[in-house]
Subunit: 259 residues, 2 copies
DNA sequence: ACCAACGGTTCAAATAATGAACCGACCATA
DNA sequence: TATGGTCGGTTCATTATTTGAACCGTTGGT
């Protein structure tokens, strides 16, 4: 392992519940020699990557990250990142993948990717607007939204886009509980007939939901084999996108899919 | 220079106008050996601190910074606190307010706030980098920095950003004495022409200067009335921010403005 | 067809990283 | 107030990593 990796791997020991770490703790956590850890932390401190909290006390993450994160964000727009992940995802599933962001009480499609494998596929429009109660992405977002927001959305008139759209608030709430249990949302024909989709929420740096990644296929093609594949792939790719965007799943987010 | 410093100093060559850098360019910019730069970039890439844009193409800042910046802000909500104060300050003065942190021998902009009152205003960029000898914030920081740091900064070549930039060390030292007398720094057109700004230093819990809060306005608008208002407001808001951040001004810091 | 510049690789020589032992300071407990 | 444990930090001979000139194969412009 190179010295740079050793130094930067120290940063991984910081997290929300452990914002400050002392030299001895860091030595234990990393398994490295105390002198080594001290030298690395000192060097990181000079660069502003960590800082010492008081006088000769614990270390915490430094201010340099704010500057570099701003530059990163300026250099790589969210849409480009989403497209990369969606391309992978549609490749892995051979179906249409898309990503949408919560805007007001609707979802607006940020990006999508098609697979060339099948002649028939679910197609999207640029910046297509989706409603929350008619799509798997909407259920994924609602399932991790604050209660008052969910209340407001479900109190409004819920229009049926198809005969299969769920418009009963109680039924929708039951679906949201199911989503929270599995970490993944499913909807058959709620927005358009003949479309079966699975969606996983995307979170921001404050662990709040900001949108969802979904895979959509024609109902006829979505058999048990494809369902298993799609669920696994959407889950991992969505987690990956959350990470790329600098976000964190909430602590109660179902990290491991129970089959 | 330690290996870690070498690796992380590569990151400083990225900025808004140069978001992607190739291996050869980076070699030239850093003055290091190409093999060394390649190894360091590869190591940084494995950790997500940089990433390669296409297949065997240029490098850019990686996604790790978003995660770490979020953790930093969760641990120390410096940016959020600054934004609150800056918002108040720009409201009170009807001009642009900004806060920057000392990083190495430069200032990096942490946050800023605009006033909606005037159509023309001084604009900022996210994470904009300011030099110490060209800005009122820089003078404010230098005036309360240790002598050896000031010596080092003033001994380096001082580039003129505008015709009004002060590049003579003796003249700058005279300005620093004036800053210490009043507790507030002033600069007209040192960084950009037509900008007149006032700045007050921010201190940490060890009474050491860590940055500055400033208000910047177009030269034409900065008349005696506005100057008096800005000086009073910057002073109180900066003191307030120092306090919010858990810091203390040094004992010789001029607490009451003598008009 | 050519040349220059690109990203990337090699390996002996040079250099920086390492770690066991050691400080003084601090803080409970005795 | 002694004492034992832990803290952050330091030292320096040993060791392992980093370094850099030269070298690939590839690409793109002339």
């Amino acid at each position: 392992m190179g010295t740079v990796t050793k130094a930067l791997s120290l940063l991984d020991y910081f997290n929300r519940s452990r914002a400050q770490i002392g030299l001895s703790d860091m030595t234990r956590l990393s398994g490295m020699n105390k002198a080594t850890v001290h030298r690395l932390l000192t060097e990181l401190a000079e660069l502003g990557f960590v800082e010492q909290v008081g006088s000769g006390r614990e270390y915490r993450l430094g201010p340099a990250f704010l500057r570099l994160a701003a530059l990163r964000e300026a250099a790589v727009p969210m849409r480009e990142l989403s497209l990369q992940v969606l391309h992978d995802l549609s490749d892995a599933t051979s179906e249409t993948a898309h990503m949408s962001l919560l805007q007001g009480d609707q979802l607006s499609t940020l990006a999508y990717a098609y697979s060339p494998v099948h002649g028939t596929k679910v197609t999207m429009e640029d910046a297509e607007v989706l409603t929350l109660h008619t799509t798997s992405s909407g259920l994924a977002v609602l399932a991790y939204s604050p209660a008052d927001f969910v209340d407001r959305v479900l109190a409004a008139p819920l229009e049926a886009k198809t005969p299969d759209t769920i418009t009963d608030p109680d039924q929708l709430r039951a679906r949201l509980r199911a989503v929270r249990d599995t970490g993944i949302a499913e909807y058959v024909g709620g927005f358009e007939e003949d479309v079966h989709s699975h969606a996983v929420p995307i979170f921001d740096s404050a662990q709040a939901v900001i949108g969802a990644v979904a895979v959509a296929a024609p109902v006829s093609r979505m058999d048990d084999t494809l369902i298993a594949l799609v669920r696994a792939e959407v889950k991992t790719h969505a987690m990956n996108l959350t990470r790329l965007l600098g976000g964190f799943p909430p602590d109660d987010f179902n990290r491991d899919i129970p089959a």
